[in-house]
Amino acid sequence: MNAHNRTLLTVICEAALEHKLEADLKNLGAPGWTLSDARGSGSRGVRSAGWDTDGNIRLEVICSREIAERIAEHLQARYYENFAMVCYLAEVEVLRPEKF
């Protein structure tokens, strides 16, 4: 198997941010992303997803290390202070590097 290294950026945050994040990702050059609804609990309390403003989303982007870091820095500067948000990077292997 011919695998290539890429970075997986995962963001879990308030559903209210969905449109803003998508616009940010486009601007920062993310090649593509996957969005899903999420539930959980953390320092900002239970986020049960039973309610429009109470829901969480989980956003995953596979891209180059450089873009992933750029996005992560942007998120930290822009949203960490006032929004419930977690974001982390992980190294992953992909089969078609031209896609990411």
């Binding site: 209210a16 309390g45 039973g50 429009d52 403003t53 006032n82």
Partner: protein
């Protein structure tokens, strides 16, 4: 007349939530129910509006718009008096200046059950009242600030779910007219109450969840959440008398002025004023004001309307 069963569904939901029962309605069902309710209210208003539209409506709409600007300012002054910081006071005030379509649905059912007439174009006022408080709230929180993304916010405010559904229903009803809408009529006649009952069951569950966090914010917030609807109702009822609305219309505008938003405003404020604590507003509007209006407020506002009319206002 006994207690309305739809109110009992709400009490049931509150109870089930407070005892931490396993009962939980799927989120998609709640969405569906609220969409049906809003469309039904809009359709009904539209059908009647087509039959009795008048030029006076324009002036009345402007007055209602003014009410939407006045209420959040009053709420803000009251909250500042209770020593809430500026940003949070502004965010909570925006919720109380705006309206709750769920509360509106209950007052529609309440008046219909008592065969009290009300002006058909009331749903239009719901849509009108939803908007200005959000803008006033943002201005109160940060003044005219350059970093507010008005384009994004405008979309959120004017194209929000409840406004779209209400106005869409109004237009469809007005264009189609009474005869053509017949097959859809059950939406706002026989089907309305069953849908409202399930909706209120879920609202009871949600409200009980908010009550839990009340302890954290204490007496001041509770006092505001009970006082503001009474002030709003009085102003709304007086304005309705000034506009010459009927008994039902007066009770309805009082209820609208008393109600606090919990869908459109939280979403908009979260983006526009992220520094504000969202659970402060939701605890007040969902945990206290909504139950208060459903259980005690609406009959009270109807009595207020009757009293004002008897006094010759």
């Amino acid at each position: 007349m006994g207690i309305d069963p739809v109110v009992l569904f709400f009490v049931f939901g509150l109870f089930a939530g407070l005892v931490k029962s396993e009962l939980k309605l799927p989120p998609a069902l709640y969405e569906t129910l609220s969409i049906i309710l809003l469309l039904a209210i809009g359709l009904h208003g539209g059908v009647e509006l087509a039959e009795q539209a008048s030029a006076a409506l324009l002036g009345q709409s402007l007055l209602v718009l003014g009410l939407g600007v006045l209420l959040p300012i009053l709420a803000f002054i009251l909250l500042r008096g209770l020593r809430f910081d500026r940003v949070n006071a502004a965010a909570v005030a925006a919720h109380y200046g705006s309206v709750s379509a769920g509360t509106f649905a209950v007052v529609v059912a309440y008046l219909a059950a008592r065969e009290i007439f009300f002006e058909s174009y009331m749903p239009l006022f719901v849509a009108i009242l939803e908007i200005p408080a959000i803008l006033v709230g943002i201005l109160l929180a940060k003044g005219v600030s350059r970093d507010t993304d008005w384009k994004e916010l405008g979309r959120e405010i004017f194209l929000g779910k409840s406004i779209m559904l209400l106005l869409g229903g109004l237009l469809i009803g007005a264009i189609a007219g009474k005869e053509a809408i017949k097959p859809l009529e059950p939406l706002y006649t026989s089907m309305f109450k069953p849908v409202l009952a399930f909706f209120l069951l879920e609202m009871g569950l949600i409200a009980s969840g908010q009550l839990g966090s009340l302890k954290r914010y204490g007496f001041k917030l509770a006092a505001f959440a009970l006082l503001m609807p009474l002030i709003g109702a009085l102003i709304g009822a007086l304005l309705a008398r000034f506009m010459g609305l009927s008994l039902g219309g007066t009770a309805m505008l009082a209820t609208l002025a008393a109600s606090a938003s919990y869908i459109a405003v939280p979403a908009a404020m979260r983006l526009a004023v992220p520094e504000a604590n969202p659970s402060l507003s939701l605890t007040a509007s969902l945990g206290i004001t909504f139950p208060f209006n459903i259980l005690i407020g609406i009959p009270l506002y109807l009595a207020l309307a009757e009293r004002l009319i008897a006094w010759g206002f």
